[in-house]
Amino acid sequence: MKNPLKVLSAFAATAAMALSLSACGGGSSQASSDTITYWASDQGNSLDDTAAKLKPSLDRFTEKTGVKVQLEVISWTDLYNRILTAVTSGDGPDVLNIGNTWAVTLQETGAFEPVEGELLEAVGGKDRFLKTSWSTGGAEGKTPTSVPLYGLAYNMYYNTKMFKEAGIEKAPTTWDEFVADAKKLTKDTNGDGKPDQWGFTAAGASVSANSHQAFVRGLQNGGTLFDAEGKPTFDSDPQVEGVKQFVDLMATHKVMSPSDAELSQGSQKVDNVINGKAAMMFDQSPLKNFAARDFKDWGVAPIPMMTAGATGDAGTQSHVAGINLSVFKNSDNKANAIKLAAFLTSDEEQVALNKAYSSLPVVTTASSDAAFQTEEVKAKNDALANHSLPMPLIAKEGQMETLTGTAIKNLFAKAATGTVSEDDIRAALKDANNQMAAAQ
């Protein structure tokens, strides 16, 4: 060797690099044992708002247990993919929120701690929880891998001032009345010959919100997304009819602004109602947005059905909406993670958090708190208890949401830039159906 020093330094450089590399890889799991990580879904007006409203609860938790919580609030557009990545890599948070409709899909990955034994005991057993909400924790007959945290349901919210101006005295109850009222509410206010006030608004580019409507409108028309054998039936006649009713609000009845086809966040449609750009919307919990903007001219009514007083499947107004909480199986810190799960589902925190996020408590004792006796909460409770069904509790629920929601998103885009025929709707749902079948 000509120059041993040079060789040595080359080795040293290699070794140093390798060392620093391995240090990087292990970074996230090196957190000290009195700190756990928590991924929270965005329940407030914004990521910051969600964090601010969660902070008092987490502070109380730290005070009580000495365990610090490293909080990350994740937007709904990113949450599913973030969870997926965490599941794949096995490197995730200790505790996390999931949309309850994903519970079965995520249960199948085996990445979450089953709710039994120590965890079940810590949250006080399943009888503390609302039955409908608890049923979303996992597939029927299997040990659930998530516990309910916040309860939600769809209702129709409307701008009362705009109703008064249009001479509408009471909220529509049937779909036909709803469309008729929406037409009355759609008008040109600045005289340029084009409507600038709309009867209805929705986030047309929100995949999950679209899939909820595919589910509800299908049921109202006598359809289902899957047949008894579990085969997808997205393009069955009643499903096509249901999706058509929803897309027609923009495509045929023109009571929904074409601009809505670009909205991907639910809060954007709430803004439309607050600003008087649109009169009605279907939403789960806009009250926090109303409060933040000091908006008082709102009313709430059930989601319209095909016939007044419909019951059973045809009387579905919402899916059993809500947020569940899961403990990551790979957590280095399971004991403390379970403590947090127990704390967040305790009576006091259920009252505090659901009040802050204008959602429904999922434990029965908290429901009786004075904060949950308003007309709005009662409407939501009625929808949840009497007019909601869980989204299909199947392993491929996630794909179903993505495929049907994206199909409707593309149909809205088509309606905004041209026309949509029934054949277009059928073709789009057929494509989604084929992809669903191929994935099964």
């Binding site: 060789v7 990955t109 670009e262 593309n410 084929n434």
Partner: protein
Amino acid sequence: MSHSALDSGPAAAGSTAALDPEPGQPKAATAPPVRKRRRSFLPYGLILPAAILELLIHIGPMLLGIWIAFISLTQLNLTNWLNAPFVGLQNFVNGLNPESTIGQAFFSTVGRTLGYTVLVVGFSWVLGMAGAVFLSSNFKGRAVLRTFFLVPYALPAYVGTIAWAFMFNQRDGAVNQILVDTFHLFGDERPFWLLGENSFGAMIVVNVWQLWPFAFLMLMAALQNVPTDVYEAAAIDGASLWQQFRTITLPMVRPANGVLLMVMSLWTFNQFNIPFVLFGASSPKEATLISPLIYQNSFGSWNFGLGGAMSVLLLIALFIASVFYIRMVLPKGADND
């Protein structure tokens, strides 16, 4: 590109390799003998870190991706993917079946991506070349313009694209405010730029905006090597500016051009960031490129095997194209360097 007699002159002068009848071999024979047979370990030691990192960061995941293409990887076995069932070529059959929804989407997307690549690289190259030629002559304010042109390249890709997404927004975006509100185009209808057919054009605009400074930078560097006396001689012979450009500038920057076009084409063909930021997880049908399609198949429907199969096909196609291109088009001067 044309090949007149003038073409080969300056190009050959610029590269000794072209004069060498058989580059490489005779060189080795006539060159003075290597100092000593015994080689130092040093060069290997110096390459080692890069080789290890390359293995870790590129080759490893690539092999893993190829493996995934042959297994049925879904959420059921995601956490235990080593035990996912081997399905042979099934994923390829599903992805390539022109009768199926997935196969149709794959083939139309490949075609669209090719067109997209040609358009983006073409526009970027023309703009970059024009900018480079324009700025190769000395004038006041040249440095300012050079910096200014490089801004899109210096901005983080996501920041630039998010800004474009805001500008293209149908209701409140700057593009419609200028085109519709100020200039009253489109009969005062606000067009959608991120939905339907327009989305393809919008994506091209953003990509060209982001890519052309790179072409500009590379071509500007290449132009620095063109001696000015060649232009002077051409001017005395009465060559017009266009003739000078065609017969001097273009051939002189040909080696740089070869690399530039290949690199830009590969980047554009694999483009993911721009559609993802502009359109979200699912692009409009009219603007779906191959990388977002693979993403949608992998993460949208959790069908990682299919996504893997499509990636492998993409890898093979790009590999063949690159090898072909490198052998046919790039200057063969590597042996002399």
